[in-house]
């Protein structure tokens, strides 16, 4: 599904990714862990198509198509979704109106018929229930005045509505209390399928207690320096990054 090969990327003339390679197959869950500044969020932004990041070398192929020249919205419509570490507040735009535009744009690109307001509302309510979120949430402005936990839940709610093929969760666990973490994790688990893959970027093992990864990668200094199965995260928890980065 996703093949990243020798990816180099600059941010404000600083080299952040320095030859990163990663392969994700359909239905797999990959966890990417690494110390601060190792390039985890940059990787997520580059895959999602943030134009502030300059790719200087390498390729990112999604279902055998090079997506580096595609705009963010094209990648989104192809099925790439990124859950933001710091979701942006958009006052004056309700969650329901925003979801309506986003869902129907994505469906249009996939040659699916537009959902009516009633169909969308039904689906939104169903998905909100999955995430144990209040239905009033729909009439609130996007992330405006949301708590940290609400913002993260809203990201997962959007994930559930947009039904992407690849979901990148950028530190979705940061700022969540233990109960919210369980709810968000259970929401993510309910969205796992044979066709949908996840890249989970996190600092901590605790999220991986709830969302079991197939593969764990350690990112350091812009490269993946070690890959393994779920036990690698436990090793990391025990020995810290210093025990692995030598």
């Amino acid at each position: 599904m996703l093949k990243i090969n020798n990816l180099h990327c600059n941010v404000n003339d600083t080299k952040v990714l320095k030859g990163l390679s990663l392969s994700v197959n359909e239905g797999e869950v990959h966890a990417i862990m690494g110390p601060n500044g190792s390039g985890k969020s940059t990787l997520a932004s580059v895959i999602a198509g943030n134009e502030n990041y300059e790719v200087t070398n390498g390729s990112v192929r999604f279902f055998d198509k090079d997506i580096l020249d595609e705009a963010a919205e094209v990648r989104a419509r192809m099925g790439v979704f990124m859950s933001f570490q710091y979701p942006v507040e958009i006052p004056g735009v309700t969650v329901s109106n925003f979801i309506k535009i986003a869902v129907n744009e994505t469906r249009k690109a996939r040659d699916l018929k537009k959902l009516s307001s009633a169909e969308l509302l039904k689906l939104m309510r169903h998905n909100l229930d999955l995430l144990k979120m209040d239905h009033h949430f729909l009439s609130r402005s996007m992330n405006d005045g949301f708590s940290g936990g609400e913002k993260k839940r809203n990201e997962i709610f959007q994930l559930s509505m947009l039904e992407p093929k690849l979901a990148i969760l950028d530190e979705t666990d940061s700022g969540l209390d233990i109960d919210a973490l369980k709810i968000v994790s259970s929401g993510v688990n309910s969205l796992r399928s044979e066709k949908r893959s996840f890249i989970i970027i996190t600092h901590y093992q605790r999220l991986l207690d709830y969302i079991k990864p197939d593969h764990v990668h350690i990112l350091h200094n812009g490269k993946i320096i070690k890959s393994g199965n779920a036990s690698l995260a436990l090793e990391l928890e025990k020995n810290g990054y210093d025990g692995i980065i030598k």
């Binding site: 502030n52 919205e73 989104a76 419509r77 942006v88 958009i90 004056g92 925003f98 535009i101």
Partner: protein, 374 residues
């Protein structure tokens, strides 16, 4: 009741007005609540006179000397008001409709018919009356026109007023507008102004919009909300002065501007809280988005406070659309234009959400849709 003078009747004028704005007669057929002015003079033949009573200046002086205005207005101000109205030929007293339907006031400006643009037009809203006005300004002139209105909102009354300029105004017209609001005790003024241009790059209309608001009685509420959305080299200059004379009054100004191409805006607002006008609560807010590097806005909110125990705030922001927010929306499948449109719509919601008149709300949303193209 004095017979209305200097009002214009006759089929030639009617046909001219109809030619100028064909929808007037259609509206007139469907609703009785229509008042038409041409170059600041009442067009009696197109007006539903049941909306109005008229008073001459002299009678207004009598009214303001205490016979008809029921408390709330200070004597000094009443005399000032009487002096001020000497120039105006007619003050219209707005009658509350039984069904409380909005009154539509068409203000037509044309240099092809009557040269006199200087006439001052006054409206008096009697005590405990609730009036909704849709004021539509329509232009058939390339020379500068002007309008000078005043509104007296008596004790316990409320005025909700929507002012809309035809988008074609911004093509090449200039207009100097002055509006004054005088509020009595416990009165409410909700004023909305929409200056929505069109997508024409060659637009170069200029609107000088002066608003003068005096909160004379106790516990008045004054809300002025406005959206300017301009393209080309169109320009809207808002100059506002609000004076709190009495205790427990609230005044809120929310002015939003979106400026594209070479268009320009100005927000020059002064709120004065006079000595003794305690418990004043005032908000001045001006937010602007510049969509091009050539667009300009000059924002100058000012406060002059001469008493203690007040809560006054003012703020002004000017910037571009947030690049992070645009990426966020695009990462959800929205195109660049859609993302910008969603952000602009959200930006303007702070004014649009207060619209209670469904017809106006639909009209504004359609105009914005056309400008924003979400």
């Amino acid at each position: 009741m004095t017979e209305l003078s200097n009002n214009y009747t006759g089929s030639s004028l009617e046909s001219a007005c109809v030619k100028m704005a064909p929808y007037i007669l259609n509206t007139h057929k469907s609703s009785k609540q229509v008042v038409v002015f041409l170059n600041n003079h009442l067009v009696k033949s197109l007006t539903d006179l049941s909306c109005l009573k008229s008073y001459s200046t002299i009678e207004l002086e009598q009214i303001t000397n205490g016979k008809k205005i029921h408390g709330g207005l200070k004597l000094d101000t009443i005399n000032e008001l009487a002096n001020m109205t000497k120039d105006s030929r007619v003050v219209f007293v707005l009658n509350e409709s039984v069904k409380q339907e909005p009154i539509t006031i068409y203000r037509l400006f044309s240099d092809k018919m009557l040269p006199d643009h200087s006439n001052k037009v006054g409206f008096y809203i009697p005590t405990k009356t609730s009036i909704t006005i849709r004021e539509r300004l329509i232009f058939d002139t390339e020379s500068t026109s002007c309008s000078n209105n005043f509104w007296i909102i008596d004790k316990g009354s409320s005025l909700t007023k929507y002012r809309l300029l035809e988008s074609s105004f911004f093509k090449e017209t200039s207009h100097d507008s002055k509006e004054s609001f005088y509020q009595g005790e416990n009165s409410l003024c909700n004023s909305f102004s929409f200056f929505l241009g069109n997508n024409d790059k060659s637009s170069r209309g200029v609107l000088n919009n002066k608003i003068f608001s005096e909160l004379i009685g106790k516990s008045c509420n004054s809300n002025h909300r406005s959206i300017s959305f301009l393209r080309g080299s169109a320009c809207v200059k808002n100059k506002i002065k609000t004076i709190h004379h009495n205790i427990d009054c609230n005044s809120h100004e929310i002015y939003k501007g979106v400026f594209d191409h070479d268009s320009q805006g100005e927000f020059d607002s002064l709120v004065v809280v006079e000595r003794g006008a305690i418990n004043a609560n005032t908000v001045q807010k001006n937010n602007n988005v510049l969509l091009s590097s050539q667009a300009k806005i000059d924002s100058n909110p000012q406060l002059e406070i001469f008493t203690d125990d007040v809560k006054c705030s003012h703020g002004s922001t000017t910037g571009q659309l947030d690049a992070d927010a645009i990426f966020y929306l695009r990462s959800r499948g929205l195109s660049l234009n859609q993302a910008m449109g969603v952000l602009l719509k959200g930006f303007l919601t702070e004014v649009v959400e207060f619209l209670e008149d469904e017809e106006i709300c639909k009209e504004i949303e359609n105009s914005l849709k056309n400008l924003i193209k979400v």
